[in-house]
Subunit: 752 residues, 2 copies
């Protein structure tokens, strides 16, 4: 094992102080002169024809500048949700923006919203999967299925599989993975378990709602876009396309993100940009919580049917899984759920069918490891159930069947090095598992589960500059969601040879930064990190060359130590980094500025796994589930920054608890949203929902990651609901099959 | 001679359209929320004790937020003019800022200026050189001479020479260059000419007055500074020092510069930053023309005494030159005038003495080739006079004595390759010189002169990125004053292999850009250009490697042609640059982003020379001089962009006409400025001052410059006044010895 000076040492978030003292300026805090505030007028109908829009009363409100409708915006094919802009002729979900009020102040805009009169002619809607799949179902897209948005796809490797084209229907996509012979597999089993499952529509519940500000370029075509986004370069590309300008005529300045979790790749920026262009004024669109819950892109609800066979020796012989995702009014590419179902364990006889269905509801999108928490919940529940019936140790069963590096995934390609086995082994030895009898003695249940994420890849570049105050600046084009910049500071410090507090990380915008892929798919540390290291090493080589020249020594004899470059082991023959920088950044200076470049691409993704243990008690009278303890054992490849890593893992697992016990966006039979605020929608509450928590790091290094590190963002959310469900079953013998596992559902399960 | 595809082709200014259509936003156009407008209260006295400042009436003006005095600002040693901030206890020049009114609007600020009551106790002042040098002269700095600002030093190579320390006096600096034996030299001469000369205090007369906006960082210590500057990295360093923060806690965003000419390195930014810090509000300081003429840093007036010996064969045998610069209240380092006097010609017996004297007047600073127009005027006048007395051809005499590459400069170091001889030869063959008899037949005079600039050096870096719209972005940290960015576009296009309109040049700020030295000293094209070329070549290599891989060809067989990379000579086997970029900037892309880095330092400066010819007529009744024709033959090393080069040369020569005939900042005997606006100060007027003009490019390439190019900014201003003076002498036989050569002076010279 290599010894590091900086890697693995705790470093607080670089912008932590700003954030906790309330000084960070998020997108909603921004103002520019002449800015207009925007407010939506949304559809109350899930499906209706727009007969007439009367904006005259709204326009009469003092301070209102314009009330835009689709007629005022470019007519672009609504091939993806972000291109839907405002409803044109027809609405296809309740909450769909139909008009946009622009006013000098928010109050005027809000007043005017209530004065926009829209006549609708209601049309039949499909709200449930069954309605959408009925033979005579009205079609969400009668003229043909729109293109897919690609948001979820940006979260992981393409999953491949056999995708089939359909005749016009509400089916957006079908994917199938098959292997062996199911009948043979089930015949070989000693027990076959079979169950339906459902999972809920879940909102990403970022603290900061969607917010953006678009300023048309006063100097020519183009615009500047400030937005709370995970993907500034995607926003740039798409805004340019809608505005009809060259991509680089648009400058996207990503603002600090107050939570995103997959939701904020690109959604409302095109509408805001089109609106700003229409009135040639800066337009700010910052959603209220209700607007956000009505109009954005939560995780889709899904329906599963699983049948799993297991032999008495613990071998899983067969799996048949049907996955049906209710994507809402646009495709949302969640087939990775099917891919994971067919990949995590080595099952000789396999059939996984994925169907994505459209309904007249809000479009859905990516939420941290999209599809994976659902897949883990159903698969891990079934494995536990089969093991239980065979009186097998559930952890041992998982170890027995877990895929190993080199073994095939659902699509037949081999798994890369990964730590599924190692995280299970580590959990197996953890006191919380070893001493589970003690918990059970207290009437509690202990459940475990494991989940994994294939990991995304996208090229990146970064640069490092040495400045005259002796600081090393790392320039990156990636958005920091989870403290990745603190990790970059450690990596640059390690590679260059300075203290981390002498490293500054500059996150640029699309005009000033080198390209980096979007922040999603657990790939920022994994993909940007290597560029940062290369840039720092190149800069280090440059300072050693300058120092060698100044000290009249051989460059091979130089080392960087404590802010200076010295002849190895001879601190007297040294030159300060600040002095070197001065020689490169001053009139008459004889050395070129110290600038290291790092460029990185990788065709290999590195999967990361987390095994979880939940210890719960169930109040059998009220059905209330209390999670007492949560342990997440995650393979991170190499710990870069334990502080941010622990925070990230805990955050993911807490969101997993939301999936498990609390969160569900609901619609009534007409498609009317029933959960339009956090009064109705139940986010885990810090006071009563957070259990005793432990994050355990396992390090199975990947040759492709920086210092061996793997992406860590997605794994911790995946197995939580499954572990809680298994713990409930352990405590009560009742198997919960619907997420969230609310008290009424627990009661129902206990009763039958 | 090499063949270029792009180099040497005319390319308009990249921001020309913005500028001529009035859309460019200069620093005075900027606003930020909560911004205060600043206005000076200036001293009417050249030297006085401040007894009392009463701000109560000013503070009572509605809209006034604060009236700052020195007591409200950090107490820093006033070691340079930019650190003088506001007068503390004493004023040392008329016009010195004593208080700063900050108000919500400009009108309120202006009203309040008139209501600040300051009691002064007048002190004896030294206004003229003689007063300053008198034995009992009051000292401008009784407690010791402040440090030098370094502004002028940033304009050329350090000139060396023998610098002597002084006992307390008003003498700021003395430098002496000596060679041979003067007495011997003059004894060998066939004619010895000797004259005193004076040159005026001249203002840089940029269209855009000084303007800046400082916003304290709401997120912590530090600030953002928008300023019309030539030197953002210098502003950053100094503002950080005054605010007491790390250099990189200050972000300097250079705004488009509406003229600078050496004046805008760093001057009032420290005051604006200190004021913003004092009130913790954004402060905008945008000077009126009168404020600007009262408070900034024009070129110093100077007094010369020259004695020159020449043999009948044209050999210059000896030169004795005394140079005395009236620097105003701070040193301004103009000893390059002495250096040039001793370097341009090979004179065996030489003594040049430089004395810099302080007076109670506005501090002076750099103006395009600081010291050189003055030196050229006096030296070239004397050479002409000696040649005339010996009946020698003045151009031939110059060619005979001109320094050649390798011959010693005043300090003994050898001249680099340079085109002093070539520009004289080219002028010699120019019709305006060949046919001078025709002009003379019309009663006109024809004069020539030559001037040179050693050239500055400062390290730079630049980077190039390829974007998905197929554009190549060149990122530089240099400020564009003269169209250098258009030249960078040509250089990058040439090196990379795309059309220039596919290149965008991004000028970053100190937080986002790679370092580049300040824009001054004729060194942006010379020093940044090589970094741009290296970056473009590195990017080109990267796209060829990607293309070779995609096309399954050898990288050595690839070429970049018309926006695509192809197998040499096989357009069918090609891949578009946009497609390559897409593969490096997309999810799952397998190639690293195309990012080329260029870093450049150079210990060799490359001198550049311009010979000028003026054809004038003199109205012997009114004394009015009309310049009919001006020809500037300049060695540019290699023409990069003839369009901007011609503009730059013409602009310099027009400013040279200002030196020659029009411009003079005057003070009365009490030191009161007499020229506080363009009503009193005579800038050459486009309608009646601009002659028939021709710029002739000579190309003596330097191995150190991009494609052989030399810096071109400073040379064209240098020899104009000398050429005009020689033309007047040619027309009238009268030798003018004082700049500007106004009508009364011409009359006086004609009379005797």
């Amino acid at each position: 094992m290599r010894e590091y000076k900086q890697i693995g040492r705790p470093k607080p978030l670089l912008d932590g102080l700003e954030k906790v003292t309330g000084r960070t300026r998020y997108a909603p805090d921004l103002t520019v002169p002449g800015m207009l505030h925007a407010r939506f007028v949304t559809s109350p109908h899930a499906h209706a024809q727009i007969e007439n829009i009367d904006v005259s009363a709204a326009l009469a409100v003092p301070g209102v500048t314009a009330v835009l409708t689709a007629a005022d915006l470019p007519h672009i094919p609504p091939t993806s949700r972000n291109r839907l802009l405002l409803a044109r002729d027809e609405v296809i979900f309740a909450g769909q923006p139909v008009a946009l009020v622009l006013a000098e102040d928010l109050g005027a805009a809000q007043d005017a919203v209530d004065k926009v009169w829209i006549d609708y002619d209601s049309l039949p809607a499909v709200i449930t999967l069954d309605e959408a799949l009925a033979d005579d179902a009205p079609l969400v897209w009668p003229a043909g299925m729109p293109g897919v948005s690609g948001d979820a796809g940006a979260h992981g490797a393409s999953v491949g599989g056999d995708k089939r084209e359909q005749k016009p229907s509400n089916i957006a996509a079908e994917t199938r993975f098959e292997r062996g012979n199911l009948a043979e597999g089930f015949a070989a089993a000693d027990v076959v378990v079979e169950r339906p499952f459902t999972t809920a529509m879940v909102h990403q519940s970022y603290l900061e709602t969607f917010a953006m500000l678009v300023q048309p370029d006063p100097l020519g075509p183009g615009a500047t876009v400030w937005t709370s986004t995970q993907a500034p370069f995607i926003v740039r590309e798409e805004v340019a396309d809608v505005l009809g300008v060259e991509e680089t005529a648009v400058r996207v300045i990503p603002t600090p993100v107050g939570g995103a979790f997959g939701a904020k790749f690109l959604l409302l920026e095109l509408l805001a940009a089109a609106a700003a262009q229409a009135v040639n004024r800066p337009v700010k669109l910052a959603l209220t919580r209700s607007e956000d819950m009505l109009t954005t892109n939560p995780a889709p609800p899904a329906r599963f049917h699983l049948k799993l066979g297991m032999k008495q020796d613990g071998t899983i012989t067969a799996l048949k899984a049907d996955v049906m995702v209710d994507a809402g009014c646009y495709p949302s590419e969640h087939d990775i759920a099917a891919f994971l179902l067919g990949s995590l364990y080595q099952i000789p006889h396999l059939q996984v069918c994925y169907t994505e269905v459209l309904t007249h509801k809000i479009s859905t999108g990516a939420y941290r490891a999209p599809g994976a928490p659902q897949a883990a919940f159903v698969l891990e529940s079934m494995i536990d159930e089969a093991a239980h019936q065979l009186n097998l140790d559930p952890l041992t069963v998982r170890l027995q069947n877990a895929s190993q590096p080199g073994e095939p995934m659902a699509h037949g390609k081999p798994w890369a090095t990964m730590g599924m086995t190692e995280v299970l082994q580590t959990l197996q030895n953890h006191p919380a598992w070893q001493n589970r009898a003690e918990a059970r003695a207290k009437g509690r249940g202990v459940g475990i589960a494991v989940g994994g994420w294939p990991g995304g890849i996208e090229p990146t570049a970064a640069s490092c500059q040495l400045h005259r105050d002796g600081t090393l600046h790392v320039h990156v084009g990636s958005v920091d969601l989870t403290g990745t910049t603190a990790g970059f500071a450690l990596m640059a410090a390690e590679a260059f040879g300075v203290a981390p507090d002498k490293v500054r990380v500059i996150s640029g915008d699309t005009a000033t930064a080198l390209f980096a892929g979007s922040t999603g798919g657990s790939k920022i540390t994994y993909m940007v990190g290597p560029s940062v290291i290369k840039a720092a090493l190149e800069a280090r080589q440059q300072v050693m060359e300058i120092a060698a020249n100044e000290l009249e020594a051989d460059v091979a004899d130089m080392e960087v130590v404590d802010g200076r470059v010295q002849v190895k082991g001879v601190p007297d023959r040294a030159i300060q980094l600040a002095e070197i920088a001065q020689k490169t950044m001053s009139f008459g200076g004889k050395y070129a500025p110290v600038v290291g470049n790092g460029r990185h691409a990788n065709t290999k993704s590195s999967p990361s796994f987390a095994a979880q243990l939940a210890e719960v008690s169930v109040d059998e009278e009220t059905g209330e589930v209390t999670v007492h303890k949560l342990v997440v054992v995650q393979d991170v490849g190499q710990v870069i920054n334990p502080l941010t890593l622990e925070g990230q893992i805990m955050g993911g697992a807490m969101q997993g608890l939301g999936w498990a016990l609390y969160e569900q966006m609901a619609h009534d039979e007409y498609g009317t949203p029933l959960t339009g605020s956090w009064m109705d929608y139940n986010v885990p509450h810090f006071i009563h929902a957070v259990p005793e928590f432990e994050a355990v790091f396992v390090e199975v290094p990947t040759e492709h990651g920086p210092f061996g590190a793997r992406g860590a963002g997605e794994p911790p959310i995946i197995a939580t609901a499954a572990a809680v469900g298994n713990a409930i079953a352990d405590a009560t013998q009742a198997r919960l099959t619907d997420l969230p596992m609310t008290a009424p559902r627990v009661i129902a399960a206990l009763k039958g």
